[in-house]
């Protein structure tokens, strides 16, 4: 029998599976409405972290405060663990297991192959090694647009990894989650993803897969299988807020371990959700990020923030929480982190570009290794995303990385008034088909001109983009 011993103290996956059967019993209702909010509230108050969010300074510059949040999040991780909602059992880990997994996690990781591949590295605050971009988030796509959009994004040389798009049909049929339609869609998604990189002339470019995998089936069908996404791509494992996992999550983990891939696991700390205020979301996000290492065999991720009140994280509280959570992880671990930035305005609008600049500059100066972005139009509308804003996202990421938090705070304070009045009711802009020539995969002149104008403004504000 092969050994299922822990490696250097990090629990073996079978041990984790076992805990989903034997851990402490707790219903999802009890977890959501009592344990999570009650424990978070108590920890914040014990550590005097209630009400410290400063919306007037959206990028935190008090790094000791970030350390205090780290300690609070670390405590929360050890106290709670993850709830497995399929069995109503809590999967918890010991301090030794948590420390071993976090310390043993990679600080650098090569994604992709050969010259087209990318090194992801642990970053310090204002680290000159650039924050990398995986573009974009899983915006729903029609089957016609999906391969063109992916090719268009892969052609943007500044974009480091190929991310998003998710299919809404497969061979013209509705994809029903959890059915063989999804297994088929998972494979088709991955196949087209690989093909797009080849057509763009970057066959070894790294990617994240499989965004169309709503349940585990898409992942089983598309990741690490012949003709699908190679194991040199990261395997996407998202799990529900706050701090809940299920057998779908673990199916994806086990499958990735089986085929020898690397996991990118993440979940949001939700401002306005059960974590409550921004401070609560920060410690929840740190805790869930840390726990992914011993429980979900994670290689990259942690510190996601989302504000459900705005469907974004480029509002003041969202940016503040993102900066603190990431500074906390950067100063106290050597993990490769990967938060998203979530915009709400649509493609073709200048506000989208301001929102990207604010979110990405905040992440880049806070020690983030990789950001999966942008989320054009809040991810709400099918085919509402274009490669041009992906290019802008990567340009800002690379240029803003070495800036200090106080400099970025001043820049973001200039940017916010340019978009925050419409966060609640954004202009959702136009679709890929409307903004791009589908033959040449080039943007229409008007969108390109808007991009050039905002780019100049952002340079003038102090982000040193190449003109």
């Amino acid at each position: 029998m092969p050994s299922s011993e822990a490696t250097n103290g990090k629990p073996h996956i079978v041990e984790i599976l076992e805990r989903t059967q034997t851990g402490e019993y707790c219903t999802a209702k009890e977890w959501d409405t009592k344990r999570i909010p009650g424990t978070i509230r108590r920890i914040l108050s014990e550590r005097n972290l209630t009400g410290v969010c400063d919306p007037d300074n959206p990028v935190n510059t008090d790094l000791e405060l970030a350390d205090a949040f780290y300690q609070a999040g670390y405590g929360l991780a050890l106290e709670l663990g993850f709830l497995c909602t399929d069995t109503d059992r809590i999967v918890s880990v010991t301090q030794h297991e948590l420390d071993a997994a976090v310390q043993g996690a990679p600080s650098e990781l090569f994604v992709g192959e050969g010259d087209d591949g990318t090194w992801l590295r642990y970053r310090t605050i204002a680290d000159p090694y650039p924050m990398k971009i995986s573009a974009s988030l899983a915006i729903a796509n029609t089957e016609e647009v999906f391969p063109l959009l992916l090719e268009g994004i892969a052609r943007e040389r500044e974009v480091d990894l190929l991310g998003g798009g998710s299919l809404i049909t497969v061979f013209g049929r509705d994809i029903l989650s959890g059915t063989p339609f999804e297994t088929l869609a998972g494979f088709e998604h991955a196949r087209m993803h690989v093909e797009a990189r080849r057509r763009a002339g970057r066959p070894g470019m790294g990617g994240i897969n499989v965004y169309s995998s709503v349940t585990e089936y898409g992942q089983l069908g598309g990741y690490g299988v012949p003709g699908g996404a190679p194991i040199t791509d990261l395997s996407l494992v998202l799990f529900p807020s706050e701090m809940k996992i299920d057998y779908r999550t673990l199916h994806k983990v086990v499958h990735t371990v089986n085929v020898g891939g690397h996991i990118k696991a993440a979940s949001y700390g939700m401002i306005g959700g059960m974590a409550g205020p921004p401070e609560g979301a920060v410690i929840s996000s740190i805790a869930n990020g840390l726990l992914t290492y011993p429980i979900l065999q994670n290689s990259a991720g942690g510190g996601h923030i989302y504000d459900v009140r705005y469907l974004a994280n480029v509002n003041r509280e969202g940016l503040w929480a993102l900066s603190v959570a990431q500074q906390a992880l950067s100063r106290n671990t050597r993990l490769i982190t990967d938060p998203t930035t979530n915009q709400v305005s649509g493609a073709g609008t200048e506000k989208l570009l301001y929102e990207i600049a604010a979110g990405i500059a905040t992440a880049a100066c806070s020690g983030v290794s990789l950001s999966t972005s942008p989320r054009t139009a809040g991810g709400k509308l099918t085919d509402h995303i274009t490669p041009l804003e992906c290019r802008f996202t990567a340009e800002v990421a690379h240029a803003a990385s070495a800036l200090e938090p106080d400099a970025v705070n001043e820049i973001v304070k200039e940017l916010l008034p340019r978009y925050e009045d419409t966060i609640k009711h954004p202009d959702l802009g136009r679709s890929f088909q409307q903004l791009y020539d589908l033959e040449t995969l080039q943007p229409i002149e008007e969108w390109e001109a808007t991009y050039r104008r905002v780019k100049k403004e952002v340079i003038d504000l102090g982000i040193p983009l190449a003109a």
Partner: protein, 222 residues
């Protein structure tokens, strides 16, 4: 005839109001007991103490002065107090606006929007049966039948799960129970057009609009 409280009774109503806002179930249950002892009609305790408190909570949530966990605690405190008062209702008294079966459709685990809808419907006087997330379509119908519900409310954020909303409505038709319930939908990719297309009775863009929609469908004055 409207209930006119004396000073002592008013103090108890104020306590109910405050205990709901603070989300303090023990205090709220206590105050409910005191209100019975002080001769306040149970329905008046609800209408003049608890309801204004929970309305205030909903308003503060809307103004972003209060967060979801606090709103959930307030709703629980109110339910605790109602549990004490209800057995003492006069015949014909009722405070429930109606019963709503709520869940996120099969395949979909996005439940934060649904949780907000639940909290807001509860604080606005609906009895909400929460089926959770990833709910098989037959469960919506079975529970609606079991609970003699008024409204079936489905949440969905994935285009790949939306067809299940349509299928639920079809199944209700085939079962011959469609007309017994109002069916409403919400969540990211849904829209009024989609609701019309699948034969739902209503759609709402936000949880607040969802409460108005339910009131409207059941003919309740705001």
């Amino acid at each position: 005839m409207a209930f006119e409280p004396n000073d002592d009774q008013q103090a108890i109503l104020d306590e109910l109001f405050q205990a709901v806002i603070n989300g303090d179930t023990d205090r709220c249950v206590d105050a409910a007991g005191q209100s019975l002892a002080a001769g306040i009609p149970p329905l008046a305790a609800i209408e003049s103490g608890l309801t204004p408190g929970i309305r205030e909570v909903g308003d503060r949530f809307g103004r972003m002065e209060m967060f979801l966990p606090e709103m959930v605690l307030s709703a629980e405190a109110m339910q605790g107090a109602v549990g004490v008062l209800e057995p003492h209702f006069a015949t014909g008294d009722s405070y429930d606006k109606g019963t709503v079966i709520l869940g996120t459709v099969k395949g979909d685990i996005h439940d934060i929007g649904k949780n907000i809808v639940k909290a807001l419907l509860t604080v606005n006087g609906y009895q909400v049966i929460d089926l959770g997330r990833d709910v098989p379509l037959t469960d919506f119908i079975d529970r609606a039948e079991d609970e003699d519900a008024d409204i079936v409310a489905m949440s969905g954020l994935l285009t790949t799960s939306l067809p299940l909303m349509r299928d639920t409505i079809r199944l209700m038709q085939d079962d011959g129970v469609r007309d017994k319930y109002r069916v409403i939908i919400g969540g990211g990719p849904t829209s009024q057009e989609y609701a019309d297309g699948i034969g739902a009775d209503g759609y709402a863009n936000t949880a607040f609009d969802g409460v108005e929609l339910c009131d409207q469908l059941l003919g309740i004055e705001a």
